[in-house]
Amino acid sequence: MLLNVRDLDVRYGRVHAVKAMSLNLAAGEVVAVLGANGAGKSSLLRALLGIERIAGGRVEFDGKDVTSWPASRRVKEGLVLVPEGRRAINALTVEENLLMGAYNRRLTSAVKKEVDEVYDRFPNLAARRKSRAVVLSGGEQQMLAIGRGLLAAPKLMMLDEPSLGLSPRLSEEVFVAIGELSREKNITILLVEQNTHRALEIAGRAYVVELGRVVAVGSPETLMSDGTMLEAYLGQGKATSAMSKRLKVAS
């Protein structure tokens, strides 16, 4: 197992955002975490990266207990987060943003080659390498965020809502890119998404979370067919037939 999470708890004051979540990822897998707003998905990723305090449980990454490690050490170990809302560093150029991704690595020719690889993958970034990140469009910022994540030499890349705020065409591009990373570079992917349909297209497995708990786990086919998804998104017993029809149409 590349990532093994046991009974993870995250609290914000009296709010219990993540309740005894357990999940695991084998190397090379693409796993989605699905759930409605406020289900605890982002809190889970932030706790895994180590920027949210872990109130209980245990996180094992690549055979090491990283539960009490600071974020910097986890990043160095290859546990990388592409944050929600992209979060480019606006004051820096595109290239400097990418180099910041490699912050915990020695600046070798390998890193420079990887920067060029990112430019090959996302030609829009190459055209703007000297521009400040603030001039990028939403889609380009997402490319930059993924490129920055790649420069950290990830074993596991966690992506928080990569399609948020993007047009359908750009979301499609982003998901294609994520699929390619998993296949070509053998990077394990943990994907948090609201866009259930797209996420399940590239994921081999998915966890469904509701109010801070894992309520289901399985292959995309089982989850879509047994109605778990509907309950997680709409709340137990509220999945009226009209809504279920609409969701089926959407997928």
Binding site: R73, R86, I89, L92, E96, S131, S137, G139, E140, R169
Partner: protein
Amino acid sequence: MSGYFEGVLVLLAINVVFAYGAYLPLAAGQLNLGIAGFAAVGAYGSAYLSDTFAIHPILAIPIGAMFAGLIALLVAVPVLRTRGIYLALATFAVGQIVRAAILNLEFLGGAAGYPVSAFVGLPVVLGFALAVIVVVMVLFATRFGIALRAVQDDERVADLMGVEVRGFQMAAFILGAAVAGIGGGLYAHHFSYIEAQYFNIGLSISIVLYVLLGGTQTAWGPLIGATVFTLLPELLRGSASLRYVVFAAGVIVLMALRPQGLLTRATIQRLFDWRNPPIPGVPMASGRGQ
């Protein structure tokens, strides 16, 4: 070289050093209004060493700077827990404490001031200033500089990328204090006399102004800011008592017209990178998120 011209050059070099002392923490997003206090530690520390132990100023000044860095290290932990305006107030308080402490220390002359017998001339002052400029420039050409700017722009994202944000802020604060200490040591050994009253909040504010007016985006900003705003009052000397009014008006106009400072990264890019002009912010067709 006339004595006047030499005097202006010395003042300019010392102000540039002070400006870099304030620039380092500012580049990490921290306003240090106690910078004059750290300059005072460097001044008194080096003066005491050269006076009492007959250590050569060229050695005593860096040791004095290390004292300033040490004091900064001691106060960094509690002071850097505060942010924004509170950080400014906390550093202001540190500066006041240093000044009050010196006023009450008999062996540093107290309110009567401290005469310094060892002397450094213009070449030594310029040499130190040049060394400070080179070190800061080199530092900012590395990823340390990029990381500092990342921390200044968005602490939380820098954190995501595995940058030890707090470590960087501490390093910038301590290094800035040491640089200010060098400025203090140079001042002490050139003007041969120091008193606590010189290292007051007015000095801190002037130093911070050099940096803000020069621009915090690049490591050239403090150099330009300190140069322009040291020389400007001298050039305005002809208008006698009005010169500070003209100077102050100039500061206000600059702040209004160019709040980012005289020198920005875009300006430098235009000056040095004219073969590869930056692509202007062409809005993209689609997908502008958030």
